[in-house]
Symmetry: C2
Subunit: 413 residues, 2 copies
């Protein structure tokens, strides 16, 4: 059961001028399932992305990187994003690369553009051959379905074993002009059939110097998709892509320090965080949404180390599942996070507003029933103060439940 997450209202997902979406059923792994999506971009759109740090990255990720590098080197711009579910095209060697390229060629031909103007994405089982013939056969239907108001359908079309579609949309005013940001994401369904991929796409009609887009998407990813974890398994296919169509009528944004850029950045981070948090809320077997704040660090890096150690600890996650304020497990995770000169006698810890640990020991006034009360909530904030500096970091995660094991131990079929 997702934690405080509802399916998005399709009518609340604003169309983004210059972006059209077409979704179809190509029968890639199963029949009668929306499994092929095309996001077509008007000429002149800019695209930037961040991709998995997994060295065993999937064939489509390798091709996305190549095609974006080609654009950066002066090539023609990206005109379409192609997403299939049901097969990750990872661990597939040279044959997987060839098949991903074939899918780009087929879509490019239908659209009258070059293959290098297509970005391919795959999500699904690892180490199985991509059924590229079915993808190619499905493309005409996807293209004829293209329309600007299909974001809700696209959120469904990129789902694998997500229990709910994930989308977010907002509008801001820049120089009196309405600027739209709309996005979709999927993930946290790493289950039968072994879906391990997090995908996120955000489009905006903001008019921004394309040279600024990569910094903006990196910053947004660092504040959102790079702050979530379900089980610590970094997928072979993780991707987050930002599209700018430049259609809005305001003057072009030329600096990330401008007031206009700050409005855009804030809206982008808001949309990205909603999309990223939706993945955690729909995490496999999740029953709790946990916010972990580590503060008082010397730098953000050590705060992230500690926050991720807490977020990845199976002992901490099972304690959240059990609503058991077994909070020594959190201290232990901070201790092994890898902060070499950490002084345990400086550490404080709060569970929501309850002071549990002070100066490295159990606070004398802490009562287990107070911890128990907070642990029973569906949303919990853990705040660890290292008290050795001014930096902080936040990570979002979920608990580890019986359903997580059931989902992931199910034999693929």
């Amino acid at each position: 059961m997702p934690v405080n997450l509802n399916a998005p209202d399709p009518t609340a997902l604003h169309a983004v001028p210059g972006v059209r979406l077409g979704i179809t059923m190509a029968g890639i792994r199963k029949a009668d399932r929306r499994d092929l999506s095309v996001i077509a971009l008007d000429e002149g759109a800019s695209v930037a992305g961040v991709f998995t740090s997994n060295r065993f990255c999937a064939a489509p990720v390798q091709i996305c990187r190549q095609h974006l590098a080609g654009v950066a080197a002066g090539g023609a711009g990206i005109r379409a994003i192609l997403v299939n579910t049901g097969n990750a095209n990872a661990g597939t060697g040279a044959d997987g690369l060839a098949r991903a390229q074939q899918s780009c060629q087929a879509l490019a031909q239908l659209m009258g553009v070059q293959p290098e103007q297509i970005l391919p994405f795959s999500t699904g089982v690892i180490m199985e051959t991509l059924p590229v013939d079915r993808i190619i056969a499905g493309l005409p239907a996807a293209i004829s379905a293209l329309r600007p108001d299909a974001w809700g359908e696209a959120a469904l079309g990129i789902m694998t074993t997500d229990t709910l579609p994930k989308a977010a949309s907002t509008q801001v005013q820049i120089q009196g002009q309405t600027v739209t940001l709309t996005g979709i994401s999927k993930g946290a369904g790493m289950i039968r059939p072994n879906m391990a991929t997090m995908l996120g796409y955000v489009a905006t009609d903001a008019n921004i110097n394309p040279a600024l887009l990569q910094a903006l998407v990196t910053e947004a990813a660092d504040a959102s998709f790079n702050r979530i974890t379900i089980d610590g398994d970094t997928s072979t296919n993780d991707s987050f892509v930002l599209i700018a169509t430049h259609k809005a009528a305001h003057a072009r944004i030329e600096s990330l320090e401008s007031a206009e850029a700050k409005i855009l950045r804030a809206a982008l981070i808001q949309v990205s965080q909603r999309l990223a948090q939706a993945i955690v809320r729909d995490g496999e077997g999740a029953t709790k949404f946990i916010t972990i704040v580590v503060e008082g660090g010397r730098d953000e890096a050590e705060c992230k180390l500690a926050a991720y150690a807490i977020a990845h600890s199976p002992l901490v996650k099972t304690a959240f599942f059990a609503s058991d304020p077994n909070l020594g497990r959190i201290l232990a995770a901070v201790g092994y996070a890898g902060i070499a000169d950490l002084d345990q006698t400086l550490i404080d810890m709060h569970l929501d507003e309850v002071l549990v640990v002070q100066a490295g020991g159990r606070h004398p006034a802490y009562r287990e029933e107070d911890g128990q009360r907070v642990m029973k909530q569906a949303e919990i904030t853990v705040r660890v103060s290292l008290n050795r500096g001014q930096a902080s970091a936040t990570v979002w995660t979920c608990d580890l439940s019986h359903d997580y094991v059931s989902i992931n131990a199910d034999y693929r079929s």
Copy 2:
């Protein structure tokens, strides 16, 4: 159910001249439970240890380090090891240190030695006050129970929620003299009441220069206890201790390069590996014993990175539980292990003798039924070849089952 593990035959555990063990019930957390052990050492014994890398280390670990440093600085030798279960005395601040010191003082007084000659160990719930009065009250009974042939009882006495006691013993010939190595371990019961500690003790009567002992215990730990993982949670209390009583009649070993040292080292590693593997075999909820070998690395460090990434992946571990040859999950773990310049196209993978992956892609001759057959076994070897060097590393782990979640989500009581 432990995987291919039986309770040790107490009569097969050789006494070590110079070592006596006394175990009693002190009612530390529960009544009628062996929870207090004293291992008394004859004058002249040497002790070396390796301790948790967790910065949030428990009070007794801090005191062990101090006392061993005192011996190294010329102080009197260690005369007893004191182990309590039921309480880890971790996350207890200055009060926890004072209570651990009180327990050393009480035992030292009863034995007529100095408090600095005692090494204290605690395992049990984190962040609760050590009931030192009960420990002190139990000491006389433990001392009057001291005898050389109580290794089997000591293996029971240090158990928390282990389902079986863990012990190993061997004898080797050095210069025609029989030399004994006997050890006990506990761990992998990080459950109600939150036992998170791995403890290991090995004693030998080998006559060895005390200055060589630290290098020997470090090497043995690296080959055994530092190669196992259940869930990646490094405890606040982990400790592995080597005792040498020097009672054997062979000439004193003065170099780790000598033939005699090699015999001793091989026996020590064998005993340590049996103790360490017993912990994995009795891992919480374990149904499978998995050996992960990563070979062909540039150095051992990168092989260990990859082996631990596989061993810690919840997706890999649930696949083993399900006997599901969902082997892309293993490739993904290798990919995110943190080997920066890893070339996925060089990687091969075997499951036991079955070649699954060659050159980064599924081997054409691999058939799922072959993978399935191996995955159904109780003992499985995963072998990943990075094919970029000559180094290798081995790690032992278990699967992630429903019982793991049940055990760790049980509310402490």
